[in-house]
């Protein structure tokens, strides 16, 4: 039983972590492609169209990876988490079925047209198909976050005698207070990933003295998108998400921030520290007094509950994991704002394209938005543990009763092998496209 839960959780964590590497880029990138195409329609400058086509090519490979790694996510609800599906399917099945019907069809139908249809359709219609692909990918994010929000903060349900959750208010699923802040926060984080990828390719071209026109275009666009999104991801959206956690999952908030004891006269914000579960304190702490209280309640001396105020049975299962995930996300987010701010100043002073160290920094940063996005998800998901549906259904109660741990281990290993291969192929192909550069695409 213990083994089974462990392998089931590992498999889901592994497959979803790998899967989300792709849509987080495609959601942001589709917006930027639409932007390039739009600029082309407005200005008729051919480079914008070439830029759209170049990123479309990378988008297509990312999209394909996202699709093939996404199908297992849907299957796993039934294969590995059968009891959870049985009990909550009447509710989360609703949002997941809507995702299939409303977003996947839209995306996949128009992606084909977008990729093959430029000549057949003309630029205006081509722009519209691109916009519809963007709309589909964002709708997909919305319905997934709606599902996620219901698990974090269940609404519009009742529980029958046999333990089944049934829906009694459809619109509540979409007016869930958890939904909108999480959705915007998540979408902005995807724009950050795309902006960093686009700027890094730009920086690569300039440092390499190749495709310099495109390098400049990518850098300019990437930095502007990057600055705006990295500021908005922290404030107001990140702030609103955190306030939801304080309000609805206070024990999670205490663990995220590493507050073991409630402090009188307001809580300090911890910049660096290591949770020590045995002694119930943070080791090696660097903190600024009272800031957390202010950020949370806009009062310097507001009291924030520490873990000591809660029943230990309700603690998140992995406090250090949660704490680190959260702090890595926040720390990286701060670095993103700083770097994009500096880059934007240089852009404004028309010196960005020659400031070598910023170009190198932007190139070096590529993996970090992915890490920040992933740790962000971990914060949300580890924060919810030990619950599948917060406070109502435990993770231990959700696994498939008839699938033994050996089967799950076998399929976990299979997924690891397959995904390593996919990841390698992906890097080779995208590397090749980037190296060849724009204007190499024959249509």
């Amino acid at each position: 039983m213990e083994d089974m839960l462990f392998y089931d959780r590992m498999q889901f964590a592994f497959t979803i972590t790998f899967h989300y590497l792709f849509p987080q880029l495609t959601m942001g990138l589709s917006l930027m492609i639409v932007w390039f195409k739009w600029k082309f329609l407005r200005t008729q400058i051919e480079n914008y169209n070439e830029a759209a086509k170049f990123w479309m090519k990378i988008f297509a490979i990312n999209f394909a990876m996202g699709v093939v790694t996404g199908i297992p996510m849907e299957f796993q609800f039934g294969t590995n988490w059968a009891k959870f599906s049985e009990l909550t399917g009447g509710i989360i099945g609703q949002t997941l079925a809507m995702e299939g019907m409303f977003s996947f069809f839209l995306e996949s139908s128009f992606l084909g047209l977008f990729l093959f249809g430029e000549k057949l359709l003309g630029h205006k219609l081509h722009f519209i198909t691109g916009f519809l692909v963007f709309l589909g990918s964002w709708a997909s994010g919305y319905l997934i976050i709606a599902t996620h929000s219901w698990m974090q903060h269940p609404v519009g349900y009742e529980i029958l005698e046999n333990g089944k959750f049934v829906l009694n208010n459809f619109s509540a699923l979409f007016s869930n207070p958890w939904l909108l802040p999480s959705y915007l926060h998540n979408q902005l984080a995807s724009i950050i990933t795309a902006a960093f990828v686009v700027s890094a390719v730009g920086a690569f071209y300039l440092l390499n003295n190749k495709h310099s026109d495109f390098g400049k275009l990518f850098l300019k666009t990437g930095v502007i998108f990057g600055l705006v999104s990295s500021v908005l991801v922290a404030f107001p959206t990140g702030d609103l998400v955190a306030k939801n956690v304080v309000k609805h999952q206070p024990v999670t908030f205490a663990a995220m921030e590493g507050i073991f004891e409630t402090e009188e006269g307001g809580s300090e914000i911890v910049l660096i520290g290591q949770p020590n579960i045995l002694e119930k304190k943070l080791d090696n702490k660097i903190a600024v007094p009272n800031i957390l209280s202010f950020l949370t309640y806009q009062e310097w001396d507001a009291e924030i509950k520490g873990l000591n105020e809660f029943d230990p049975n309700t603690y998140p299962t992995n406090i250090p994991g949660l704490y680190y995930a959260y702090h890595i996300m926040v720390g990286l987010g701060t670095i993103f704002i700083g770097l994009m701010f500096l880059a934007a100043i240089q852009l404004f002073r028309k010196k960005l394209f020659t400031t070598k160290w910023i170009l190198w920094a932007l190139l070096f940063m590529v993996p970090f938005p992915y890490i920040a996005n992933t740790t962000g998800w971990y914060t949300a998901e580890l924060g919810r543990q030990p619950w599948l549906v917060y406070n109502l259904l435990r993770t231990t109660e959700g696994i498939s009763p008839t699938v033994s741990s050996g089967n799950t281990l076998f399929t976990l290993l299979g997924f690891i092998g397959l995904y390593l291969l996919l990841g390698l192929l992906f890097l080779i192909l995208v590397g090749k496209i980037i190296y060849k550069g724009p204007q190499t695409i024959k249509h």
């Binding site: 849907e74 997941l96 047209l113």
Partner: protein, 358 residues
């Protein structure tokens, strides 16, 4: 309400089989009959812009199954754990085979992905036939041994096979001689279907050869379908029970055989789309006849201790099902619009679209 969603689900699955079925079939044709680079190109061009959207029908049907019949989703997905995960892996292989092949021009690279695409398509066709066989044959619900259930009445787990390969064994496996028979029917039917699609969408040099292959395979298909009908009574004591009770259901088998007999005239069709029409009729009729024969069961129980899984005891709550109808109708209209646009833009022969070079 349950009936509405049951019909929706069956329609979606049938649409999926007809659409993604021609992709699988094209893959099988690719594996066995494509000798030259030109043949291969004709085949991938014929399915290039479509296969991705076709596959969405599976994901969407999965979503609808999850939402409308959550208990069935839970029971069957965990019960058929191993084959389903393998189907996933095959779907992944087939998709990346198609996507990646054209990205690098190297003989070995291309051969690897050609084979991945072809073999995965073949195995998927086989597995889907086997899956249909499992649904018809039923499973040991609750995993009952000597009258005692090891699990809740609807949970089960099937190994890939048991040593006897018999559909009447106490401990059933996924693969036995009956399900393999349906698997082979699946492979042949989809090969024919895929070949018809290629004929319809391209002016390939393969086309004449494909017509004679379809003609020959059709004999095998007819023979196996008749054989499977004959041995059906081993699996189901009264195979025609529903048809006797509700005579209008005969329309489905009639459609099946219309499609099947129509295919024998493949070499004399004036229009290239006719063959595809008949193989679609065959698939539509075959699936609907099969599900009509077990209705209202979704998964029959092979033991007498636990009841069959039916559309009534597996459905979600009434409120959820009824609000779902509203968004579903809007969604289906949108989907119809997308597909109309897509098939209109890419109408006619696809020889010059140049898939794989985007």
């Amino acid at each position: 309400m349950e009936l509405f969603w049951y019909i929706v689900l069956m329609c979606m699955l049938t649409v999926y089989v007809i659409l993604d079925g021609y992709d699988f079939g094209a893959g099988i044709v690719h594996l066995f009959f494509a000798k030259t680079e030109k043949d291969k190109k004709a085949i991938t061009n014929a399915i290039g812009p479509f296969w991705d959207a076709n596959e969405v029908w599976l994901i969407a049907a999965g979503g609808v199954l999850f939402f409308a019949f959550p208990t069935l989703y839970a029971a069957s997905f965990s019960g058929f754990y191993l084959p389903l995960i393998m189907i996933l892996w095959l779907l992944i292989f087939r998709a990346i085979g198609l996507e990646l092949r054209g990205q690098i021009h190297n003989k070995i690279w291309e051969t690897i992905w050609d084979k991945a695409f072809g073999i995965a398509s073949l195995l998927l066709a086989l597995f889907f036939g086997i899956a249909l066989g499992n649904v018809v044959r039923g499973v040991n619900l609750g995993m009952v041994t000597d009258g005692v259930s090891a699990h809740e009445p609807h949970y089960f787990f099937l190994p890939l096979w048991n040593p006897t390969f018999s559909p009447k064994a106490e401990h059933l496996g996924i693969i036995d001689w009956f399900t393999i028979l349906l698997g082979v029917i699946g492979v042949i039917a989809l090969t024919i279907h895929g070949a018809n699609w290629i004929i319809y969408k391209t002016n390939s040099e393969l086309n004449t050869k494909l017509k004679s292959i379809i003609f020959k395979l059709n004999f095998a298909l007819l023979a196996l379908v008749v054989l499977s009908l004959f041995i059906w009574h081993i699996i189901e004591p009264q195979p025609f029970h529903n048809f006797i009770k509700t005579p209008w259901l005969w329309i489905f088998p009639i459609i099946t055989f219309t499609g099947l007999f129509g295919l024998f005239k493949v070499r004399t069709f004036k229009k290239d789309g006719m063959g595809f029409l008949f193989s679609s009729l065959f698939l539509f009729g075959g699936i609907t006849s099969t599900v009509a024969s077990i209705f209202p069961k979704l998964l029959p129980s092979t033991n007498t201790t636990n009841p069959d899984l039916t559309i009534y005891n597996m459905a979600a709550d009434a409120y959820g099902l009824s609000v779902g109808v509203n968004w579903f109708i809007i969604a289906v209209i949108l989907v119809a619009v997308y597909f109309t646009i897509q098939y209109k833009v890419f109408k006619g022969k696809m020889d010059n679209v140049g898939y794989g070079e985007h």
